[in-house]
C-alpha cells in the first residue's frame, strides 16, 4: 500500500478506482453536536475581508468586476492568482485575479462576442478570426436544427436550452485526484483507451470514446502542470487533509477554468475529506482550528468563482449562479448515516464567512440523520437562508450511497454517470396552444399540428385534456430530438475533457428534461374542470383570454382534485418523452424546476384559464402559484409532496418561505419546528425543499435599499443568490411568493 494511505482500511479501492468503497471503509459517523467547531482565524478574517471588499466593488461595477478577453480560458491560460498573496492556504483561481472572468468560446463564439461587447472589451483579432475556421457547439447545433425546432425555441415553448453556451451538469469525481494522484488516473485512462480502441468493431461510439479518453489524458497532464504553477506536485495521492482539499480543489478548478457550463457542482466532498481530517487529528498532524481554517479557505475559493455571462442569460438564470453544489450528509447502504465532523465544518463556514449563496450547500436529508445534526441544519437555515434539503431516503435506492447533486436537484452517481442538461418546456403554453388548435397565443403564428380551436365554452374538460395531450405528444418528440442534436454537438465541439477525466471512461448518461408553468397548467385545467371557463377571442379568432365563472380547487392546498391533475401532468410528460430514443442511449429523466426562468417563461405566456394575467411570472419549480396556497404550510407542502420523484427523477423543486414568528416563539422551538416540517415533508416522500426563514418586509426593504443588505442571501429555486444580484424583476417575483405566516 502507498505510504499516503497508511492508517486507512484497505479494500479493493487500493487496486481499482473506487472512492465510494474507500469512504465506506474509512469514514467515522459523528453523532455529536456542533460544540467542537472552531471559529474563524485572524488569517481567515483577513482573506474574508478582502473578498467582501471585492464583492462590494463587483456590485458597484454592475455585477461583473473584470473581464479578460485577451486569451481563451484553458487550464493553464493564466498565471497563478491569489485572494491575498501569501495568505491563501488553499490556492488556485480561475484567472490570475479573484472575480476576474475569462472567455470560453467553444460553447459558442456568438455569446462570447456579445459578452465582450456588453462589457466594452474587444476580442483580440486572432481569436476572432480563429472562429472563421473553428466550429463551436452553437454553430453545430444551428446547422442541424429544423425550422420547427427554431420556431418552438423562439416562441418560448422550450427555453433556456444549452445550445449557445456550455451545458454544465457534469460532476467530475474530483476526490479521485486526492485519493489516487493524477499519475494513477492517467495510467487507468491509458488502459481504458487501449481497451476501447482495440475493440473488434470500431463503431461510432467506440471511435468517439477513444478520442474523448485521449483528450481526458491531455487534460490530466495539464492539471498537473497547473498545480505545479502553484507549487504543488499532485502526481501522487494527497498525504493529509490539507492536501486532500487542495488536490480535490485543483481537479475541480481545472473544469471551471475552461468550461462555463450552466451548473458545475463540486460533488460530495465533505465526508471524504473528513477521513483525512480524522487521521490527522488522531496523529496530531493538525488541530481542529487548522482544519476548519483549511475548510474555510476552500469554501472562500469556491465563493469567488465566476463565469462570464450575457444579460440575456442573466434574465434566465438570475443572480450570477455557479451552482457549485456540495451534498452533505445522507446515509450509506449499510444504514449508517454519513454525517461527519466535516459536514458540520462545511456548514460552519456560513458563520465564519457569513451567509452566501455559493457553494450551494445541500443537506441530503434522511430520517436516520442524527438529531443534533438535524437541529444544527435547521439553525443554519434560520440564521442564514443559505442551504437546501433533498431527500436521501428517496434518491439512495436509485442512485446508491455515493451520488451528488448537479445544479439544484439532479442526482448523479459519482464517477459513473453524467447528465445531458435540457432546460425545460412550457406546460402552460402547451395548454394554450391546444385550446387554440395550433396557434401561438402571443404572436398568432401557426405551430404544431393544426386543428379547430376549442368551442365557445364552457370548455369541456375532456376536450381540453385531450388537446393538451396532443400538443404535449408533439412537443415531446421535438424536445427529445432537439436535445439529441445539442448533446451530439456539445460532445463533438466542446467536450468537457477536464471534468470527464474524473469520470469512468464509459459513463452512463441521463438526459434531463424539464417543465415550467407546472402549477399554472394544473390550476388552469382545474378551472376548466371545476369552474366554467369561456374563451375570449381577438379579431382573428385567436383565444387571448378567458372568463372563468365559479370557484375551483387550486394546487397547494392539499386538495386531491387538483393535485391529481398535477401528478397526471408529470406522468404524461415523462411517458411522452420516453417514447423517443436518445443520443448515446441516455436515460430520460424529468425535473419540475425552473431556476429563475419562471419569470421569463411567464413573460412569454399569455393569459391562462386560472386567472393568471399574460406576462405574469409563473411560480418557481413545483411551487404552488403565489399566494394561492391558502391553507397553511403543511397543506402546501403536502400538495408538492404528491409529485412523485420516481416520475421526476431529475428533481421536484419546492422553494419555501416562512416567517420566523410562524416557526415558534423562541430560537429553540423554531429549530424544533423546522426539523418537524422537514421530517413530515420528507417522510411523505417529497424530494426537495429550499428553506427561507424571513419576513417579506425585509425583502421589500432590501429591494428599496440594496446598500443596507450587501450579504442578504435567499434561496430562490434550487439555489441561493445574493438578493442584490437579482434583477428588479426577479426581486419582485421573489417578494410576491407566499410567505407562510402561521396563525
Amino acid at each position: 500500500m502507498r505510504k499516503e494511505w497508511e492508517g486507512f482500511v484497505p479494500g479493493s479501492w487500493t487496486e481499482q478506482i473506487d472512492v465510494e468503497e474507500f469512504i465506506r471503509l474509512n469514514y467515522h459517523p459523528y453523532d455529536g453536536d456542533d460544540s467542537f467547531l472552531a471559529g474563524a482565524t485572524e488569517r481567515t478574517k483577513e482573506c474574508y475581508q478582502r473578498v467582501q471588499e471585492l464583492l462590494v466593488a463587483e456590485r458597484k461595477a454592475g455585477g461583473t468586476l473584470k473581464v479578460d478577453a485577451s486569451r481563451i480560458m484553458r487550464i493553464n491560460a493564466f498565471e497563478p492568482g491569489y485572494i491575498v498573496p501569501g495568505k491563501d492556504i488553499i490556492v488556485g483561481l480561475q484567472t490570475d485575479e479573484p472575480l476576474k472572468r475569462g472567455i470560453c468560446p467553444f460553447g459558442g463564439i456568438k455569446m462570447v462576442r456579445e459578452e465582450v461587447a456588453e462589457y466594452g472589451e474587444k476580442l483580440p483579432e486572432e481569436i476572432d478570426r480563429m472562429f472563421d475556421y473553428v466550429t463551436t457547439h452553437n454553430d453545430g447545433v444551428f446547422k442541424a436544427y429544423s425550422k420547427e425546432m427554431k420556431q418552438v425555441r423562439h416562441l418560448g415553448f422550450i427555453t433556456g436550452l444549452p445550445d449557445a453556451y456550455g451545458r454544465g451538469r457534469i460532476i467530475g469525481d474530483y476526490r479521485r485526484a486526492a485519493l489516487y494522484g493524477i499519475d494513477h488516473l492517467i495510467a487507468e485512462k491509458e488502459k481504458d483507451h487501449e481497451m476501447i480502441a482495440s475493440r473488434h468493431v470500431m463503431n461510432e461510439e467506440n471511435i468517439r470514446t477513444a478520442e474523448e479518453v485521449t483528450n481526458e489524458i491531455i487534460a490530466l497532464k495539464e492539471i498537473k502542470k497547473m498545480a505545479a504553477s502553484y507549487g504543488y506536485d499532485i502526481s501522487g495521492p494527497a498525504k493529509d487533509v490539507k492536501e486532500a482539499i487542495q488536490w480535490t480543489y485543483f481537479a475541480y478548478l481545472a473544469g471551471i477554468k475552461e468550461e462555463n457550463g450552466a451548473a458545475m457542482s463540486i460533488g460530495r466532498t465533505s465526508t471524504f475529506i473528513d477521513i483525512y481530517a480524522e487521521r490527522d487529528l488522531a496523529n496530531g498532524v493538525y488541530t481542529e482550528e487548522q482544519i476548519q481554517e483549511f475548510v474555510d479557505d476552500y469554501i472562500l475559493k469556491l465563493r469567488v468563482a465566476r463565469h462570464l455571462r450575457t444579460n440575456e442569460y442573466n434574465e434566465l438564470f438570475g443572480g450570477d449562479p455557479m451552482w457549485i453544489t456540495e451534498g452533505i450528509g445522507g446515509v450509506g447502504m449499510d444504514g449508517r448515516h454519513k454525517v461527519t465532523k466535516n459536514s458540520y465544518r462545511v456548514l460552519q463556514t456560513l458563520y465564519n464567512l457569513g451567509p452566501a449563496p455559493e457553494p450551494n450547500l445541500t443537506v441530503l436529508w434522511s430520517e436516520k440523520l442524527p438529531e443534533p445534526f438535524k437541529k444544527f441544519c435547521a439553525q443554519v437555515s434560520i440564521d442564514t437562508d443559505s442551504i437546501q434539503y433533498e431527500n436521501d431516503d428517496k434518491m439512495r435506492p436509485t442512485y446508491g450511497e455515493d451520488y451528488s447533486i448537479a445544479c439544484c436537484v439532479s442526482a448523479i452517481q459519482m464517477g459513473q454517470q453524467m447528465q445531458f442538461f435540457g432546460a425545460r418546456c412550457n406546460l402552460a403554453k402547451i395548454l394554450l396552444l391546444g385550446l387554440n388548435g395550433g396557434i401561438d397565443e402571443r404572436t398568432g403564428e401557426h405551430v404544431g399540428p393544426q386543428m379547430e380551436s376549442v368551442g365557445d365554452g364552457p370548455i369541456d374538460y375532456e376536450d381540453a385534456w385531450n388537446r393538451f395531450n396532443i400538443y404535449l405528444e408533439w412537443l415531446c418528440e421535438l424536445y427529445v430530438n432537439i436535445m439529441n442534436i445539442i448533446h451530439f454537438m456539445h460532445d463533438k465541439y466542446d467536450f468537457e475533457r477536464s471534468q470527464m477525466a474524473f469520470l469512468n471512461s464509459e459513463v452512463k448518461r441521463l438526459m434531463a428534461f424539464g417543465v415550467a408553468g407546472f402549477s399554472v397548467a394544473a390550476d388552469s385545467l382545474s378551472a376548466i374542470k371545476y369552474a366554467k371557463v369561456y374563451p375570449i377571442r381577438d379579431e382573428n379568432g385567436v383565444i387571448v383570454d378567458f372568463r372563468t365563472e365559479g370557484e375551483f380547487p387550486k394546487y397547494g392546498n392539499d386538495d386531491d382534485r387538483v393535485d391529481e391533475i398535477a401528478v397526471r401532468i408529470s406522468e404524461r410528460t415523462i411517458e411522452e418523452l420516453r417514447k423517443h430514443p436518445t443520443y448515446r442511449n441516455a436515460v430520460h429523466t424529468l425535473s419540475v424546476l425552473t431556476i429563475t426562468s419562471n419569470v421569463m417563461y411567464g413573460k412569454k405566456t399569455g393569459n391562462t384559464p386560472d386567472g393568471r394575467r399574460a406576462g405574469t411570472p409563473f411560480a418557481p419549480g413545483a411551487n404552488p402559484m403565489h399566494e394561492r396556497d391558502s391553507h397553511g404550510a403543511v397543506a402546501s407542502l403536502n400538495s408538492v409532496s404528491k409529485i412523485d420523484w420516481d416520475t421526476c427523477q431529475d428533481g421536484v423543486s419546492n422553494t419555501f418561505s416562512i416567517t420566523p414568528e410562524a416557526l415558534g416563539k423562541d430560537r429553540e422551538s423554531r429549530k424544533e419546528t423546522l426539523v418537524g416540517l422537514l421530517t413530515g415533508y420528507f417522510n411523505r416522500g417529497a424530494h426537495h425543499l429550499n428553506v427561507n426563514v424571513l419576513n417579506r418586509s425585509l425583502l421589500e426593504d432590501a429591494y428599496e435599499n440594496p446598500e443596507k443588505y450587501p450579504n442578504l442571501t435567499v434561496r430562490v429555486s434550487g439555489y441561493a443568490v445574493r438578493f442584490n444580484a437579482l434583477s428588479k424583476n426577479h426581486q419582485k417575483e421573489v417578494i410576491a411568493r407566499t410567505f407562510h405566516q402561521g396563525v
Binding site: 397553511g632 403543511v634 402546501s636 416563539k665 419546528t673 413530515g680
Partner: protein, 247 residues
C-alpha cells in the same frame, strides 16, 4: 354532525406544543378589545364542517406532528360548539391524534364538561385576573372562567396559560404579579405565554364595519415584554421539564 368553522390552518407552531393543525371554530360570546379574528364572532358566519373533514385534515398533518404535535381547536370560542368538539375529539383520538382546546374562558354550557374531559391540553387565555378589567376587555363576566378552571382541575388537565399584554391595560409589573397569583388556583400549569398585543387585525375591523376600540394603541413587544416575561412564575407544582416561555 356538523360544526361551524371560520378557517383551517394546517401549520400551527404557536398554538400548543409541536406542529399542529388548527381549527378556528366560528362563534364567540366575548368581544375582546384586541380580538384579531372579529370575523369569527358571529356563529352564523363561517362554513359547515363535518367530523370526517376534521379527521381528514388532521390526518394529513400526522407526518408533521412528531411526538408533541396534534390538533388545536381555537376560535372564536370552541366551547360554543362543545357537542361537536366532543365528537371531533373522540374521532381524532381513534386515529391517535392529541387535541388541545384554546379557550377564552368566557363561555360554558352543558357540553363544556365533556369537552374539557376529552381534551389532552387546555390553552387558557386569562384575559385579566381582575373581574372588572376582565369585563372591560371581554364584555363578559368572569364567572365562567372560574367554572372552567374547576372543570380543568377536576379532570386533572394540563394547561398552557396565555395572556395578551396590551399597553396601559395590563402591562405593569403589578399586572403580572396578579396573574402569577391568579394562576396558582390551577393545578397543572405547564407554561405561561405572554403574547404582545399587535395591530395586524385593524384592517379586518374596517372591512367588517366594526369600530376598532384600541385605535392608536401601539403594538407591544421588545424589551418591555421581555422584562414582563421575566416576572412570570409558574405555580410551584408545575411539571419540571416545561420552562416558561421567555423568548
Amino acid at each position: 354532525m356538523k360544526g361551524r368553522i371560520h378557517s383551517i390552518e394546517t401549520f400551527g407552531a404557536v398554538d400548543g406544543p409541536g406542529i399542529r393543525t388548527v381549527f378556528f371554530m366560528q362563534g364567540c360570546p366575548a368581544r375582546c378589545l384586541y380580538c384579531h379574528n372579529p370575523d369569527s364572532w358571529d356563529i352564523n358566519r363561517g362554513e359547515d364542517i363535518e367530523i370526517d373533514e376534521i379527521v381528514h385534515w388532521a390526518v394529513r398533518g400526522m407526518p408533521y406532528y412528531g411526538s408533541k404535535g396534534g390538533v388545536t381547536f381555537s376560535g372564536g370560542e370552541p366551547l360554543m360548539q362543545g357537542e361537536f368538539l366532543v365528537e371531533a375529539m373522540k374521532a381524532l383520538h381513534e386515529t391517535g391524534i392529541n387535541c388541545a382546546i384554546d379557550t377564552s374562558g368566557t363561555y360554558l354550557d352543558c357540553h363544556s364538561e365533556e369537552a374539557i374531559a376529552n381534551c389532552d391540553l387546555v390553552l387558557l387565555d386569562i384575559k385579566h385576573p381582575d373581574p372588572e378589567r376582565f369585563k372591560i376587555i371581554t364584555a363578559r363576566e368572569q364567572d365562567t372562567l372560574f367554572e372552567i378552571i374547576d372543570l380543568i382541575n377536576g379532570y386533572d388537565k394540563h394547561v398552557w396559560i396565555r395572556n395578551v399584554v396590551v399597553p396601559d391595560i395590563n402591562d405593569t409589573e403589578a399586572d403580572i404579579e396578579a396573574l402569577n397569583a391568579f394562576i396558582r388556583r390551577i393545578k397543572h400549569v405547564d407554561k405561561v405565554e405572554l403574547l404582545g398585543y399587535h395591530t395586524m387585525a385593524v384592517d379586518k375591523y374596517g372591512k367588517l364595519g366594526i369600530t376598532y376600540r384600541l385605535k392608536g394603541v401601539p403594538p407591544m413587544g421588545g424589551e418591555k415584554l421581555n422584562k414582563l416575561r421575566e416576572l412570570v412564575c409558574l405555580p410551584a407544582d408545575a411539571v419540571s421539564q416545561v420552562t416558561i416561555d421567555k423568548k
